[in-house]
């Protein structure tokens, strides 16, 4: 199976493909509308010299744009989740549940929390599918 460097366009494409190919996701996410921006704070000690901005867009079970982007673009997302690299890596490897990370303040959410809680199953499924992407992490290189 191909491996992808985390936070690259290829990695995002592989993740998008996993989501698009999941019938279970389509069913779970049929109510979800809107984009999610992901911000990984800079951490030079982990080979993340600058913040990383990712834009992911979902619509009623379909996936739309999945882009490595700039700060301006990420700020247009309906929801924005921000965290340190170590936290994102834990979440992506399912070592830390995304909802728990939010509640513990290890990830920050900007956006309608009520909507997120109602659709927590969708979010967990998206993360589950990310764990299926063979990832090379910057600090593991």
């Amino acid at each position: 199976m191909a491996t992808h460097k985390a936070f690259t366009q290829e990695w995002l494409d592989a993740w998008k493909q996993k989501i698009a190919g999941s019938q279970e996701y389509k069913e779970i996410a049929k109510e979800w509308e809107g984009s999610v921006g992901l911000i990984c704070n800079a951490d030079p000690s982990k080979n993340i010299p600058n913040p990383v901005y990712l834009f992911t867009d979902y619509w009623h079970g379909d996936v739309r744009d999945f882009l490595v982007c700039d700060e301006t673009k990420v700020q247009t997302a309906k929801f924005i989740m921000t965290g340190d690299y170590a936290r994102w890596k834990q979440v992506a490897k399912k070592e830390l549940d995304a909802t728990k990370a939010l509640m513990q303040g290890k990830l920050k959410l900007k956006g309608d929390l009520t909507y997120v809680v109602r659709n927590v199953k969708t979010i967990n499924k998206v993360i589950d599918l990310l764990t299926e992407v063979q990832t090379v992490w910057p600090d593991d290189v």
Binding site: Q90, L113, R118
Partner: protein
């Protein structure tokens, strides 16, 4: 009043109609701090443990903590305690609202009520004085009516009242503060009713002092910033405690159909916090000085369950009158909640008892005739509303249920007890230990019977909090394993109980850094405690209550989970998972210093500074 305490306690003898006051030395306050911990120390020292819970001899105690009245976020809580008529052992409950701070402003840290009035009375407390007067104009009235009557002369009067259920000694009856905040668990409303005490009111204007005002102001600012930054606090504000329903359904936390079904996403979608917010919420409501405002105010404008604007249901109630009885109608949950509020009944035990009889009805153990011709089919909410009234009034079939789920099931025989999920006579709260084994152990070992609030196991095991500065913690626990959970529960009790002693809301305990809690406590009291001292107070509290329960006959035989919880589910996140009761208990006993019989050891009692208890338990 320069250390958070008012400096005196009110003593009320209802038999003689006499009110007086007493003081407690600072050394004792440093050992037990306040709340139910202080109540337990008085209970052991002064009262007859063998007294019948509904007799004049059983005291009813109300205790503040030092943070109450300080204005610190989440510090409005107070505890009430007595020997419980529901369990026959140590009983306690705590609630928020505004009564605790007002009692402190009136000059008292707590109240100890003994005896029994020859006729129904009200206890009125105003600025260092108390008087007893007739309750003739309130007796028989529901809690909302009673509260309105007692607040009529001055809306700033704070009220604690029982309803018809407490008057009639329904063993899971509750006590309400200003209609919206409840001393719900262990049936203390029945103890109040047995004393012919309909209500207590408080009004005062004395501001409690703090040991270090300047330091306190700094800490207060830090606390507010932490709360503003907390997603947990935001979710509580937006969706109330029922924010937990959606995630809980995914993780195997939510009990369904009297603990027999593993998941039902249609139910959670209809009953969850987001749905309540989008449909029936009219506004959020806060306890005194709380910036979170997790309380719900709701109204159902039309339909069969039309309800005037008033206090709305919490997560537990959305389960007991929703998922547990297969009711999909949130409006009906709101109506059942309102009826329990008015009658004055614990919504957990009331709903859980009804879930039990619905199961027994389905199994044919209870007939239509035995149920006073109420069709107890799952989800029949019209029958539920009728039944609540019958329980409160103790009419017919309702009288059997008013004795509680264990007694009711025993009455119906034929294995009916297997339908009851309880520990030590207290119905399980709405968190399934099959999804979270640590919660199972916490239920087994909680001193008032199955309880989700005498510890912080839920926050720790479900990952809502991370407190590595207090103890070794994983960031992400697997709920469906019993390994390592004894230590988690032990730690979570020592810190969680502390919230009860300080009288700090558990939700705020979850939102605030432990350093902030410690520093606020020290700035207010001047005690200069470190984490070690605070956690020792938590351990002392647990051990004291366990020792009292040992004296009341509690041993290893009582530290068990019910059959319901030891039965595997065949679907959902908790599928195939049951707590390893033996492993959990053995590991926990060793950490807690209990003998294999479940008795607190002599050495542990001496280590924690409880020599009086040692003399009684190991004479």
């Amino acid at each position: 009043m320069q250390n958070g305490y008012a400096g005196k306690f009110l003593q009320v003898d209802l038999t003689g109609g006499v009110c007086s006051s007493f003081t407690i030395q600072e050394e004792r306050l440093k050992k037990f701090i306040g709340g139910s911990s202080l109540a337990a120390s008085l209970y052991l020292e002064r009262f007859n443990l063998d007294a019948d819970p509904l007799s004049a001899e059983n005291p009813l105690m109300l205790m503040n903590g030092p943070l109450v009245g300080s204005g610190f976020p989440g510090s409005s809580r107070f505890a009430m305690a007595a020997k419980s008529p529901q369990t026959g052992i140590w009983g306690e409950a705590a609630c928020g609202g505004n009564f605790g701070p007002e009692l402190k402003r009136a000059g008292y840290d707590g109240i100890v009520i003994t005896g029994k009035s020859p006729h129904p009375v009200i206890l009125s407390i105003t600025n260092n004085s108390a008087e007893i007067s007739s309750a003739a104009n309130c007796w028989g009235k529901d809690i909302y009516e009673t509260t309105d009557i007692l607040k009529a002369p001055d809306k700033n009067i704070k009220v604690l009242a029982i309803g018809p259920a407490g008057e009639n000694r329904v063993i899971f009856s509750a006590i309400a503060n200003d209609k919206a905040h409840f001393i719900g668990r262990t049936g203390l409303g029945a103890v109040m009713g047995s004393k012919n005490l309909k209500a207590i009111t408080a009004r005062g204007n004395q501001a409690p002092g703090k040991a270090n005002e300047e330091k306190y102001k700094e800490i207060f600012k830090a606390a507010i910033a932490e709360i503003k930054n907390s997603a947990f606090a935001e979710s509580l504000h937006l969706m109330g405690s029922d924010a937990a329903m959606d995630l809980g359904m995914m993780t195997g936390d939510v009990p369904i159909k009297n603990w027999t079904v593993g998941e039902d996403f249609e139910l959670s979608a209809k009953l969850s916090g987001p749905t309540l917010t989008e449909t029936y919420l009219t506004k959020a409501h806060a306890c005194s000085n709380c910036p979170v405002a997790c309380k719900r105010v709701v109204a159902v404008k039309d339909g069969p369950f039309r309800t005037e604007e008033g206090p709305g249901p919490e997560y537990e109630t959305c389960c007991t009158f929703g998922t547990m009885i297969m009711n999909h109608d949130l409006a009906a949950v709101i109506k059942a909640n309102e009826l329990c509020n008015r009658y004055g009944m614990d919504t957990i035990s009331a709903g859980a008892t009804i879930a039990v009889v619905m199961e027994l009805y389905e199994k044919g153990i209870i007939s239509l005739e035995a149920a006073d011709h109420l069709d107890l089919a799952w989800g029949n909410m019209e029958a539920v509303m009728a039944l609540l009234g019958k329980i409160a009034r103790r009419e017919g079939f309702g009288d059997i249920l008013a004795r509680g789920s264990v007694s009711a099931a025993t009455h119906f025989g034929a294995g009916a007890l297997d339908s009851v999920a309880h520990v030590k006579g207290l119905d399980l709260p709405m968190h399934d230990p099959r999804g979270f084994h640590g919660m199972g152990l916490a239920y087994m070992m909680s001193n008032r019977g199955a309880c989700h609030l005498q510890h912080a196991a839920m926050g720790m095991e479900q990952g809502m909090v991370s407190w590595p500065q207090l103890f070794e913690m994983k960031e992400d626990y697997d709920g469906k394993t019993s390994q390592g959970k004894a230590q988690l529960v032990f730690d979570s009790e020592n810190y969680g109980i502390l919230g009860n002693s300080l009288s700090l809301c558990h939700y705020l305990l979850y939102c605030l850094k432990p350093e902030t809690v410690r520093d606020a406590f020290n700035a207010i009291t001047g005690f200069n405690f470190g984490f070690k001292d605070l956690l020792a107070c938590g351990a002392r509290d647990w051990t004291l209550k366990r020792g009292i329960n040992n004296l009341l006959g509690i041993t290893v035989k009582d530290d068990v989970l019910p059959k319901k919880i030891l039965t595997v589910l065949t679907e959902g996140a908790a599928e195939g998972s049951v707590p390893d009761m033996q492993l959990l208990r053995n590991e926990y006993y060793a950490i807690r210093g209990l003998t294999t019989e479940g008795i607190v050891s002599k050495e542990k009692l001496l280590e924690l500074g409880l020599p009086e208890l040692k003399e009684k338990l190991h004479p």
